[in-house]
């Protein structure tokens, strides 16, 4: 039985456990039909030309996670940004872990998707927002069909959330191979501001496939700072689809740090429904071995006087492969749009490769759109400069990589997170520079 067949038949088992007479279930039913028709993407599709899922779809994944495998905080502390106070929504093998989490309903909702989808008090919000901007492609439909659990965050008007929210998914490997389908819904109302850190972490060498979908709504003048830390082991793969719907004068920023995993695909889509909106997406990718990271971005400029900024840096070693596919659509109405896109890459080894493709579809005539991609090697004169000061080759290379990714690091607004990212990069490069950047 193929994974697709297995998933479709598992849906019937799912129906035994949920309320099939709810509007949510109508959405799920529609979605599984969609998945059945679309299936998994293949390289024949333009958007998937350089990323094949074949190697990760061959495993016999367990679809419904078993009981929670207990984890002690001290054993997994390193995966938290633990030196600051934060709200935490923690999952182990797809199940909510209450003892590792710190949720709230006090003035804002930081809680669980399972509650939001089933409790009457959330019905209005779910009816208004759930599955409203998520795509209809096979993978997202699959997630929608199996959407049971994830993070639900609702920030009311005029609220600056006092501390960041961390969403972490652990997998423990108590099953030979597991497929997780977290579903997050984040609604940030007028004038509110929230910072969110998301991470997926496998604690096992067993294959893990995460097919995550997040919907984010930023209402008028709301600000969302979203950070994705992708530093998983080489048996874990992640397909992350994040859809962001922005209202006027809102600011949404997504930083994606891709340092590890077998295969990572990021679908990141911004829809600008209002004027004077800013959409910013930045990323640093540093991978080696046979790892693969694919950034597939879309900004849809619908109304006038909006901006988008994209800045992705990639460093590829060994046989690693990267993809950057950045699409910017400027509708006819969206005059005075400023859209910037940059994708800069360094190939450390001869066998590493990156396919980078900007795609601009501009239907308005009074706009500023720029894009640039570069692929290069580390600057030899810069290496010589550093080495001539007594800095060994490995450390010199690391310093240049830090310098290369500095633009992206500089816009990380949580100092502890910035330090952590710096440490992860230093660890990855095998250096100890003896200072924090």
């Amino acid at each position: 039985m193929s994974l697709k067949e297995k998933l479709v038949s598992s849906f019937m088992a799912l129906e035994d456990t949920v309320d099939v007479h709810s509007s949510i279930h109508d959405i799920r039913t529609e979605a599984i039909k969609n998945f059945e028709a679309e299936g998994f993407p293949t390289k024949r599709q333009e958007d998937w030309k350089y990323t094949s899922l074949n190697s990760i779809l061959k495993h016999d994944y367990s679809v419904f996670p078993k009981n929670e495998n207990a984890l002690e905080f001290k054993d997994i502390k390193q995966y938290f940004i633990h030196d600051i106070d934060s709200y935490k929504i923690i999952f182990i093998d797809g199940k909510y872990s209450s003892h590792l989490s710190q949720t709230t309903h006090d003035g804002l909702d930081v809680c669980l998707m399972s509650a939001a989808l089933t409790k009457p008090k959330y019905k209005v919000i779910i009816d208004n927002y759930f599955n409203k901007i998520a795509g209809k492609n096979g993978l997202t439909s699959l997630n929608t069909a199996f959407s049971l659990e994830g993070a639900y965050i609702n920030i009311p008007k005029n609220k600056v959330v006092d501390k960041p929210i961390q969403i972490i998914h652990f997998s423990t490997g108590n099953e030979s191979a597991v497929m997780l389908q977290p579903r997050n819904l984040i609604v940030v109302n007028e004038n509110s501001h929230v910072q969110i850190i998301e991470r997926h972490q496998s604690l096992t060498d067993n294959p893990v496939l995460t097919n995550s979908v997040t919907e984010i709504f930023t209402n008028k003048r709301a600000i969302v700072d979203y950070y994705k830390i992708q530093n998983d082991n080489e048996n874990a793969s992640l397909i992350d689809s994040t859809y962001i719907n922005q209202k006027q004068e809102s600011l949404a920023k997504v930083h994606t740090f891709s340092f590890g995993g077998k295969l990572i695909r990021n679908n990141l889509e911004f829809y600008q429904n209002g004027e004077r909106i800013d959409s910013t997406m930045k990323g640093i990718t540093i991978i080696g071995n046979k790892q693969h990271v694919d950034h597939n971005t879309l900004v849809h400029h619908i109304e006038p006087n909006c901006e988008s900024h994209q800045d992705y840096k990639g460093i590829f070693d060994d046989n690693a492969t990267g993809v950057f596919n950045g699409k910017v659509v400027v509708e006819k109405l969206a005059q005075k749009t400023n859209a910037f896109q940059a994708n800069n890459n360094i190939l450390i080894s001869d066998k590493a490769s990156i396919n980078t493709k900007p795609q601009l579809e501009i239907f308005a005539d009074d706009v500023k759109c720029s894009h640039g991609c570069t692929i290069g090697q580390l600057d030899e004169s810069a290496m010589f400069y550093l080495r001539s000061r007594g800095i060994p080759e490995k450390e010199a290379r690391a310093l240049l990589m830090f310098a290369f990714s500095n633009n992206v690091m500089n816009s990380v607004k949580i100092p502890e997170l910035k330090n952590r990212i710096t440490k992860i990069i230093a660890e990855k490069l095998g250096v100890n520079l003896g200072f924090d950047l």
């Binding site: 010589f384 080495r387 001539s388 830090f402 310098a403 520079l433 200072f435």
Partner: protein, 250 residues
């Protein structure tokens, strides 16, 4: 201290240095002058260990040890310092952190512990005063957005911090106004001792009014074609290089 014997070097099969002989003893200041394209910067890079250059003949001895097989960082650990004509910008790494890394890596190579933070700070304070460098400057990203003069002053600050045995100043005077030139030269002079040596590479005699050389060498077409005392620099300033070229080509 430094002995260069019949040094030939090439880059991408293009021969640039064609038999250099030079001996530098502790306490000496040597100036290397010459027209554009004569090989001055190449000589500096070859001594400092730039990998693109291939030594095809001859050798470089530092304290009687052949350094051909040593990497740039190993040469730095042995006390070679090159002040760059075009220092590289490193965004996100402050001058202070850069120096901390450079000094501690050098200490590590010598089997020493990291320099205690207190000592490091004191050293940074002393040396930045020597070069009249504002403390704020030290927390800026290395060379990023520095003016030409600031870059050069920062090079000499690094030299002061690393206390090299042999310092090579490659066109340190280019891009400096007269005040910056004076500060830089003053710094170099204060760092001079009987145990270290300086090679000043320059087009013009101007810098040599401040850093007075014991020997002046003229490099032309990959060879040292004339050597003399500091008066040779004045002669070159007055007469240009054409007479040298004529002498060589005759």
């Amino acid at each position: 201290m430094l002995k260069i014997n019949n040094l030939h070097a090439s880059v991408e099969d293009k021969s640039i240095l064609k038999g250099i002989n030079l001996e530098v003893k502790p306490g000496e200041v040597h100036a290397i002058m010459g027209p554009n394209g004569s090989g001055k910067s190449t000589l500096a890079s070859v001594i400092a260990g730039k990998e693109e250059y291939e030594v095809t003949e001859g050798n470089i001895l530092l304290d009687e040890e052949d350094i051909e097989e040593l990497s740039a960082e190993e040469r730095a650990h042995k006390g070679v310092f090159l002040s760059f004509q075009y220092p590289v910008e490193i965004p996100g790494v402050s001058v202070t952190n850069f120096m901390r890394t450079a000094i501690n890596e050098t200490r590590k190579a010598k089997g020493l512990e990291d320099m205690p933070a207190k000592d490091m700070l004191k050293m940074i304070r002393d040396k930045s005063e020597l070069l009249e460098i504002d403390r704020k400057f030290l927390s800026r990203s290395l060379n990023e957005g520095f003016s030409g003069g600031e870059k050069k002053r920062n090079e000499i600050f690094q030299m002061a911090m690393l206390e090299p045995k042999l310092a090579i100043l490659d066109e340190t005077d280019s891009g400096l106004d007269i005040d910056a030139l004076r500060i830089v030269a003053n710094g170099v002079n204060k760092l001079k001792s009987k145990d270290n040596a300086v090679i000043v590479i320059t087009h013009y005699q101007r810098l040599l009014d401040y850093i007075v050389p014991d020997f002046v060498h003229v490099l032309y077409n990959g060879k040292i074609v004339k050597s003399g005392g500091k008066e040779l620099a004045h002669e070159l300033e007055a007469k240009g290089y054409d007479w040298i070229k004529e002498e060589v080509n005759a």
